[in-house]
């Protein structure tokens, strides 16, 4: 068999696994707490005397009672019904940079000299981890051109919120806090670039893309800025993978109006060593260390949004910051202008630790190559998709190359066959690859599909990936029902019900399900 055109005869594990509560048998125990020392118990007396009566729990929580092997087996089965990056060609989740997270780095975060560190230990006892935080900050400064970083935000969205908080503090200090109450973003920037500044109290102006170029026109921005402009929050490249060459001019327009410019660099994997936030003229940025910097995504976190700022904004960063006097690392809380805490303690340092290890294993030359290969992979894949797969297109910026990802459209295929991007998304799992990211809402490119073949996927895997969609496209044209009724090889079959729109129909706990079904609570 030609390994380049192989399609797998795949079926995901299907365990038909009960809900954990259904495994409960009264009296079983999963793990035990040591008995209290007899002497201590005798000295202290009865438990009822140690807790105010009304604070004693009257009815024990109705948690399941299950022995240890059965708990393990249950969750192992659920893990098998999950397509992690490690076991599939996870190109589909574009904008997420599903890259290989080196296994060696797991050993570091699970070593007790990291995992058993309490965040309030004396600085003398944590010099190693402070060194890693300090050095990672230095490396990110070099990679972005920014002057200082904080790792406190627990994700990219929280980093945008933290940057919005700094933006507000900056204008307030200049006496323009109330006047400058608007931020500008673009429609294809990540939703959080609108939502986080809004949460901080800013009004949001959204620029629409020019349908030919894929990015907003300068005239639209010029019309949007005013003395009320606090700043601009944008993603570049946006999820379309189109690099916006006007960004420097956009930044100048906002600066001239008195606003600051904030880059969402969650999608930085195509930019390393090619262009930096500094050269473009940004005042703040953030990286998602769990994306381009190779920390695993952990079933949606924990993660780290590293926020970087230029010198004139460093005084606003969350406290504390790590300092080094040439001899000793320390935590500095003495920053009266700081926005305070964004997350408790110092952020998700396990992610920083993994990213430090990754950068140390990559270095400057290979870091640039990370981006070069990401761009190469994406354009190679685009060529194949557009020439080999019927019914797909790459709207906007026709004929131009893309950066590290791309937003395709299945509009033609839907028009021809009735098969939607939802159907294809479900069907691709049948061939052993993760369902894909379509688009944030609302859709502006119809029937969207946003893959990102980062540098850790091989040419052979990219070929396999394209072949899967070539096959699905053929199925759509020849036997659309097969695709519409997918999945067929997944842990469960199609759930045909419409997604609920009434909160009264929400079921996020087993107790609510049982109540709605009239199942006896005491069962």
């Amino acid at each position: 068999m030609n390994k380049d055109i192989k399609l797998r005869n795949f079926h995901e594990a299907k365990w038909d696994e009960p809900i954990i509560f259904e495994l409960s048998t009264k009296g079983q125990r999963g793990i035990l707490i040591p008995e209290l020392e007899k002497e201590m118990k005798e000295q202290i007396g009865e438990i009822n005397n140690l807790i105010p009566e009304k604070m004693m729990r009257k009815i024990k929580p109705a948690l399941p009672e299950i022995s240890q092997p059965q708990v393990l087996r249950h969750f192992l089965r659920l893990s098998q019904e999950t397509l992690g990056q490690d076991i599939n060609i996870d190109i589909g989740l574009g904008t997420c940079t599903m890259k290989y997270s080196p296994k060696i780095n797991e050993q570091f975060v699970r070593y007790h000299k990291f995992s058993e560190l309490h965040p309030l230990q004396d600085e003398k006892t944590v010099q190693g981890i402070l060194e890693i935080i300090y050095k990672t900050e230095n490396m990110l400064k070099e990679i972005s051109g920014m002057d200082a970083f904080s790792f406190q935000p627990g994700g990219g969205a929280q980093a945008v919120f933290s940057n919005a908080s700094i933006l507000k503090a900056y204008h307030s200090d200049r006496g323009e806090g109330e006047q400058r109450d608007e931020i500008i973003t673009t429609f294809l920037s990540h939703p959080v670039n609108a939502a986080a500044p809004r949460t901080k109290g800013f009004k949001v102006i959204t620029l629409m893309p020019n349908e030919k170029t894929g990015y907003a026109d300068l005239e639209a921005l010029k019309a949007a800025v005013s003395e009320r402009t606090a700043g601009m929050f944008i993603t570049n490249p946006e999820d379309t993978g189109i690099y916006n060459p006007l960004v420097k001019e956009m930044i100048k327009i906002v600066h001239d109006a008195g606003g600051l410019c904030i880059a969402d660099q969650a999608d930085a994997n195509g930019l390393f060593g090619m262009t930096r936030a500094k050269e473009a003229g940004y005042d703040m940025c953030h990286f998602n260390l769990h994306k381009a910097f190779a920390s695993p995504h952990g079933s949606m976190g924990p993660c780290c949004g590293a926020e970087g700022v230029r010198n004139f904004l460093t005084k606003y960063l969350p406290v504390p910051v790590v300092k080094f006097d040439g001899n000793r690392y320390s935590l500095d809380y003495d920053k009266p202008d700081s926005i305070g805490k964004i997350r408790e303690f110092y952020g998700v340092i396990s992610v920083v630790l993994r990213s430090y290890a990754w950068i140390m294993s990559i270095g400057a030359d290979y870091l640039k190559e990370v981006s070069e290969i990401s761009v190469l992979n994406n354009n190679y894949m685009m060529k194949k998709f557009l020439t080999e797969v019927k019914g797909i297109s790459a709207p906007w910026a026709e004929g131009l190359y893309r950066m590290e990802q791309i937003r395709y459209s299945w509009a033609k295929l839907k028009n021809d066959t009735g098969v939607t991007t939802d159907d294809i998304d479900r069907r691709c799992g049948d061939y052993g690859v993760q369902g894909y990211f379509q688009s944030h809402h609302p859709w502006i490119i119809q029937e969207p599909f946003t893959p990102e073949p980062n540098e850790t996927f091989s040419k052979m895997e990219i070929n396999e990936y394209v072949n899967i969609f070539k096959k699905i496209s053929e199925e759509a044209y020849e036997n659309p029902e097969l695709v519409k009724t997918a999945p067929h090889n997944a842990p469960i079959s199609l759930i045909k019900k419409e997604i609920i729109s009434n909160p009264k129909d929400l079921i996020v706990t087993w107790r609510v399900y049982k109540r709605k079904k009239g199942i006896d609570q005491a069962e």
Partner: protein, 463 residues
């Protein structure tokens, strides 16, 4: 870059020159530079990033990392009495086993079908937490307990339309700092405590609450370790004034202490780090928010809900639901903002609660209550040391005051450190009125002999 000598990086399969060339040929260009030529020159970075030379072999990388990590000394190497928002509980081996699984560790936002197992595990997390806090609606895990408090109190604003919050003066200062930034348009007012007991001063609460109050907030057990006994009265006062009663509760206490909903809480929140997460220098934190099954609460959660669906074959599936409520669905019109949080910790907490069951959670709570009482008893017998709020019951934490010893907490902690003991968190900056005090913590991992050792050491230091 000397291409001829270049080694293909182990993490990058296509860094082999011949493969690159094949791919360039397929695209129809001569170089990658040609592809990225549309980045304007004035935005190009033409320098070389000043980064350390790469440690390409795993052996060198491991040596390097271990050399740095060896500079740390951990709570495993020492006797730890630090808590204050991050706790050293026992982590069952199965928790580590499950959250090390590649499938969970490296999954992300896959949905109903391909990540069915992950979705079920998340549904089980919300279901198990629902039983622990005795409430029907639980959101996905938040960044940390601090963010859970911030969102819960902002929910109170959204539900009532009011902009004043009443919080205890004993509130966790880190969370207070987060809150001040998160709701900077709201007024935060402290409610005093009764000096001898630490309990919320109900008269002060009555005098400060009004028809402008959006939410009344307490932490139970409090940040300073005592059990707040007047939840029911506090909730009643809040409700009489049309305010939402928000309680942050430590899940490790809820096997034995009453769940806040049963003394009137409308929203319960807190941190789940205690449910199977290692401390990891604060990395293990993760928050929960629970509410009643009421649309006005449900529609004010900012995070995804994975609702249960059943198909005609009787199979369960889980899908993100009520999405227009979120910023993913409605950008700036959504509730707050939404991003990746702490999914792996939610799955781990589900494993933990499944292992512990009702009896395990009861035993855990009981164990900690006894340890706390024993520590308070033994340490209060030391001349010069006073246990504050001694008239209240404690869970996990308590304050030692060293005013009569003539030594500062810093001096005492330095001496303890020499003996391999991590003393309590210095409170003298955040709670000046408590004098020269430190917040000490015991858990089920603390043995009687550990407390006796601490007592002996403190006796020598202050004696």
């Amino acid at each position: 870059m000397e291409k001829a000598k270049r080694i293909a990086h182990p993490y990058m399969p296509n860094s082999v020159e011949t493969i690159k060339q094949e791919m360039l040929n397929e695209i129809g260009v001569d170089s990658i530079e040609e592809i990225i030529a549309y980045i304007p020159e004035d935005q190009r970075f033409r320098g070389k990033m000043n980064l350390p030379e790469p440690l390409l072999s795993e052996i060198e990388l491991k040596d390097h990392m271990e050399e740095i990590l060896e500079k740390n000394t951990s709570c495993k190497d020492n006797l730890n009495f630090l808590g204050a928002g991050c706790y050293r509980h026992y982590v069952p081996a199965i928790c580590d086993e499950i959250n090390s699984r590649s499938e969970f560790l490296t999954a992300y936002c896959g949905e109903t079908y391909t990540d069915h197992g992950k979705c079920q595990a998340i549904f089980e997390f919300t279901s198990l937490m629902g039983e622990l806090v005795d409430m029907d609606v639980v959101g996905l895990a938040t960044y940390d307990g601090g963010q859970a408090t911030c969102t819960a109190l902002r929910m109170a604003y959204r539900i009532t339309g009011r902009t004043e919050l009443l919080v205890p003066r004993t509130m966790n200062p880190e969370i207070l700092s987060q809150l001040k930034n998160f709701v900077d348009f709201m007024t935060i007012t402290f409610i005093n405590y009764v000096p001898i007991t630490g309990q919320l001063d109900l008269n002060d609460l009555r005098s400060k609450i009004s028809d402008k109050t959006a939410g009344v907030y307490i932490e139970n057990p409090s940040y300073l370790g005592f059990i707040e006994e007047h939840g029911e009265e506090i909730g009643k006062i809040a409700h009489e004034n049309g305010a939402i009663f928000v309680v942050s509760a430590d899940p490790s206490s809820l096997g034995i202490l009453e769940s806040p909903v049963n003394y009137g809480a409308d929203i319960t929140c807190g941190d789940i780090q205690c449910l199977g997460m290692h401390m990891g220098y604060g990395s293990g934190l993760s928050g929960y928010i629970a509410s009643k099954d009421d649309p006005k609460y449900i529609m004010n959660f900012p995070n995804h809900f994975y609702s249960l669906y059943e198909n005609d074959k009787g199979e369960f599936g889980y899908a993100r639901s009520l999405n227009e409520r979120t910023s993913y669905g409605s950008r700036e019109k959504g509730i707050e903002y939404l991003g990746t949080n702490t999914g792996l910790w939610a799955i781990t907490a589900a494993v933990y609660l499944s292992l512990m069951g009702p009896e395990g959670m009861y035993d855990l709570g009981k164990n900690i209550i006894y340890k706390s009482k024993y520590a308070v008893k033994v340490l209060s017998e030391i001349k010069g040391i006073n246990v504050l709020f001694n008239n209240s019951s404690n869970f996990k934490e308590f304050i030692l005051n060293f005013d009569e010893t003539g030594k500062t907490v810093e001096e005492i902690n330095n001496e303890l450190l020499r003996l391999g003991i991590f003393g309590g968190k210095d409170l003298s900056k955040d709670f000046k009125e408590l004098g020269n005090g430190a917040l000490y913590c015991v858990t089920e991992l603390t043995k009687k002999k550990d407390i006796d050792k601490l007592a002996g050491a403190l006796k020598d230091i202050v004696g």
